[in-house]
Symmetry: C2
Subunit: 451 residues, 2 copies
Amino acid sequence: MSTPQRTLHLNAFLMSTGHHEASWRLPESNPRASTDITHYQNLARIAERGTFDSIFFADSPVIFGDVGRRPAGKLEPTVLLTAIAAATEKIGLIATASTTYNDPFNLARRFASVDWVSGGRAGWNVVTTAGPEAAQNFGIDDQPAHATRYERAAEFLDVAAKLWDSWQDDAVLADKEAGIWADSAKVRPIDHDGKHFRVRGPLNVPRSPQGRPVIVQAGSSENGKGLAAKYAEAVFTAQQTLEGAQSFYADVKSRAVALGRRAESIKILPGIVPVIASTEAEALRLERELDQLIRPEYARVELAKTLRVAPEDLPLDRQLPAELPDEDSIEGAKSRYTLIVELARCEKLTVRQLIGRLGGGRGHLTFAGTPDQVADAIQLWFENGAADGFNIMPAVLPSGLETFVDSVVPVLRRRGLFRSEYSGNTLRDHYGLERPANHRVEAALFDSAAS
Amino acid sequence: MSTPQRTLHLNAFLMSTGHHEASWRLPESNPRASTDITHYQNLARIAERGTFDSIFFADSPVIFGDVGRRPAGKLEPTVLLTAIAAATEKIGLIATASTTYNDPFNLARRFASVDWVSGGRAGWNVVTTAGPEAAQNFGIDDQPAHATRYERAAEFLDVAAKLWDSWQDDAVLADKEAGIWADSAKVRPIDHDGKHFRVRGPLNVPRSPQGRPVIVQAGSSENGKGLAAKYAEAVFTAQQTLEGAQSFYADVKSRAVALGRRAESIKILPGIVPVIASTEAEALRLERELDQLIRPEYARVELAKTLRVAPEDLPLDRQLPAELPDEDSIEGAKSRYTLIVELARCEKLTVRQLIGRLGGGRGHLTFAGTPDQVADAIQLWFENGAADGFNIMPAVLPSGLETFVDSVVPVLRRRGLFRSEYSGNTLRDHYGLERPANHRVEAALFDSAAS
Ligand SMILES: Cc1cc2nc3c(=O)[nH]c(=O)nc-3n(C[C@H](O)[C@H](O)[C@H](O)COP(=O)(O)O)c2cc1C
Ligand SMILES: Cc1cc2nc3c(=O)[nH]c(=O)nc-3n(C[C@H](O)[C@H](O)[C@H](O)COP(=O)(O)O)c2cc1C
C-alpha cells in the first residue's frame, strides 16, 4: 500500500459507572467506582486491549446539581491520568482542565509532568468552564463573560506553549566531566506580558516527550470553534445528525485551513453512546430498561437551570415552553444550550422524553443496535466527511466498553478501518500528529538573523 | 509490653541523584533521573523495603539558580506521588505545595485525590515559597511579605480543612433501590469568606481515606513555628547541633500544647545527610570526594543571592563579610538565612568551606560514619528530646538510600527503635496520628443544639 490510509480514531470517554445517568443503579455497577482507582485502571486496560487511541475524562472544579442523582465525586484528572499511566503502556491519556480557574504555570507544568511519567501520552482537553457555581469556588460571584473566558483561554494556551518550549529539546547536556548539567542558553525565560497573564518562566520541567501535550477542545459555540481552529489538534463534539456533523466538520476544518493549518492536523471526534446487543430489539430493550431507572425530578431541576426557567415551567408531559432565552444571552455553555433546545423542538419531545435522551447521552448521539449496525453508523460518518473518528461513551461501564471492544472493534478491524496494534508509543503517534517544533528556537533564530 | 513504646519515624527526602549538589557527576548517577519516573519508583520501593514511614519531595514553582549547576527540572509533586503510589503499597507519600501560588479548591482537591488513589497515604508539606523569582511566574513582581504569606497560609489551611470535611464520611449512600446516590444533607457548602479567600464548596471529592492528608510544615521562622504549632502533624527542620535541636523541639511542642494539642500529635523530624561506610575514615573520604566535585562559582552566586550581597563580596577563601542584613529585613526564607549565617560564624568557615557544607546538606546535619555511628547519632537525638525521628537525605541516590536501608535500618531494628514491618496501611498509621474527626459534623451538631 503506497497511499497512506486514513485510519479511524477512537477515544474512550470514561465516567464512573457509565454515561447513562442511572447506570450506577444497575446490579452490575459499583456505585463507589468514582473514587476507586482500580476501576479506572481496569477500564483503561480494556480500552488498550481494543487499541483505542486514548481515554478521556471530563471535569469541572465544582459539584453541579444534586449529589442524590448520580455519582458526583471526581478525582482530579491529572492525578487520575497519572495513576492510569502506571497501569497501561500505550494508550493516550486525555484530561480536562479549565483555563478559567487555573494558573498557566501550574497547569502547563502538570501536563508536562504527565507527559513525562506516561512516556508521551498526555493530552489536555481545554475548557472554559460554564456556570456561576464554579466561579464561587474561586472567589468570584459569577463566571466571567463567555467572550472573556475564551479570550483568556487563547492567551492561556499561548503562555502554555511558550512554557513548554522554554527548554530546547537538547538543553540538558548532562556533561559530568565539565560539570555542566544544562546549557543555560537553551533554557530561557518567556517574559510573557499580556492582558490576562504575566509569566516570567522558564518552566521548571524540561521539554516533554511529545514536545507539548496534545491539545483537545470541546466547545462548539462560535468562540469555541475559533479557539479549536487555532489551537486544537482534536475536537470532541456532540452531533445528532449526519448533516449537522458534516457541516460542523467542514466548518472547523476550513477555519483551521484559513489559519494556515493542514486539515489533517485537527481531528474531529463526535460523541456516540452505543447500546449494543446481538439483536436490534434486544439493544432497544436495554436502552428502555436504563431510561426507566432515571428519576426525572432530579433531571428536571438541572434542565431548568440550563434553560434558565423555573422547574415548574417544565411539566413533564408537555413540550418545552415556546419562549426561551436565545443563545446570545447565554453566558454558560452556549452550544450545549442550543443543542438541547433544537433537539427538543425538532423531534417534538416532551420534557420527560427530552430528559430520557439527555440522561442517556447528555446530548450526544445514542445508537442502539447490533455490532454490525454500530460499525455501519461509524463507517458512514467516517467516510462521509462527518468524523475522523469517535468519542465512544458507553452507557454502562465497564460492560459497555467491553462489549464495544469485543464486538464492534473486530468488525472495524476486519473492514480495514481500525488498527489491530499500536504502531507507535505516544498519543501523537496514535492520532498521526506531528511532534511540534519548538517555536522559541525558531523565534530565537529569527532574532539573531535580524540583529 | 503494655506501655506503648515510642517508635522512631523515618522519612526519605528524595531528590533526583541525591542531596549533594555534585552527586549527578558521579559515574554511578543517572543525570537524567529528575524526569525519569522509574528512578523515583525504584527509590520509593527501596524506602518501603526499609519500612520507612514516608518519602518526601521538596518543591518550588520556579527554577532557582543556574541550570548548569545541577539537575533543575522537577516533575510536579502530586503527579510524582501518584505515579509512585502505583508502584508501592504501604509507604507514606508527602509532597510540597505552596500556599502562596495555588488556589485552595484546586490544591485541596489534588491532595484528596492522591489520598484516594494511594489508599490513605498522602501528606502535604505546606510552604509559603520564598523569593521574587516564583512570584514572577504568577503575575506579581515580588513575593508578598513574609508575614502576609504566613497569614495566607493559615487561612489556606482553614479553607482546605473545611473542604476536606465538606463531605461527611457516611455521605455516600449508594442506595440503588431508592435511586439516591448521596445524602445531600451530608455534602454541604463551606461558604468561607475570609481575608484572602472566598470559597463556596463543597469539594467535588468525597472525604478521603485519611479524612485529611497529613499536614507537614518545614519553615522554622517565628511565623513558621506558629503555623506548625497550630496545623502541622509533622515538622521537617534543619538543625546542626543537639542543643539547637532540643530547643527547637521543646519550643514547637510547647507551642502546640499551649494551643490545646497533645505533644505527640506533632512529630519533629530534623534532616540528616548520612554518609555511610564500613569505617569512619572511608566515610570521610567519600564525603571529601563529593565535595571536590562542587563547582564553587555556581554556588557562590546562589549564596550571594540568599545573603543579599554581591558575589564579589564573597571571596572564596575569606569568611563572610562582618556586615550582613539581619533576619528581620529578610522577606524570603528567614530561618534558612539565619541558619547559614550562624553556621558560618560559629564554625568560622570560609566561603569555600561554607559552600562545601551547604552543597552536601544545604544546611542540614551531615554525618559521616559507620552504620553503628549513624545509628548512635540517631538514637542520641531520639532519646534526648531532640527528635521524634529523622528526615533522611542521602547524598547520593539510589546508593545512599540503599546503604542506609541495608546497613543502618537493621541496627535500628535490633535496638528496638524502629519497626520491622508496617502495622497499618496509611501514613497516619505509620506516624501514629489519629484520623481527624470531621469538624463540620461537630459544628453542625452544635448549631442544631443551639437552635
Ligand atoms: C465530549 C465533550 C466533553 C466536554 N467536556 C467538558 C468538560 O469536561 N468540562 C467542561 O467544562 N466542559 C466540557 N464540555 C463542554 C465544552 O467544552 C464547553 O465548555 C461548553 O460547551 C461551553 O462552550 P461553548 O459555549 O463554546 O459551547 C464538553 C463538551 C463535549 C462535546
Ligand atoms: C526539610 C525541609 C524541606 C523544605 N522544603 C521546602 C520546599 O520544598 N519548598 C519551599 O519553598 N521551602 C521548603 N523549605 C523551607 C521552608 O519551608 C520555608 O519555605 C522557608 O524556610 C521559609 O520559611 P521561614 O521563613 O519560616 O524559615 C524546607 C525546609 C526544610 C527544613
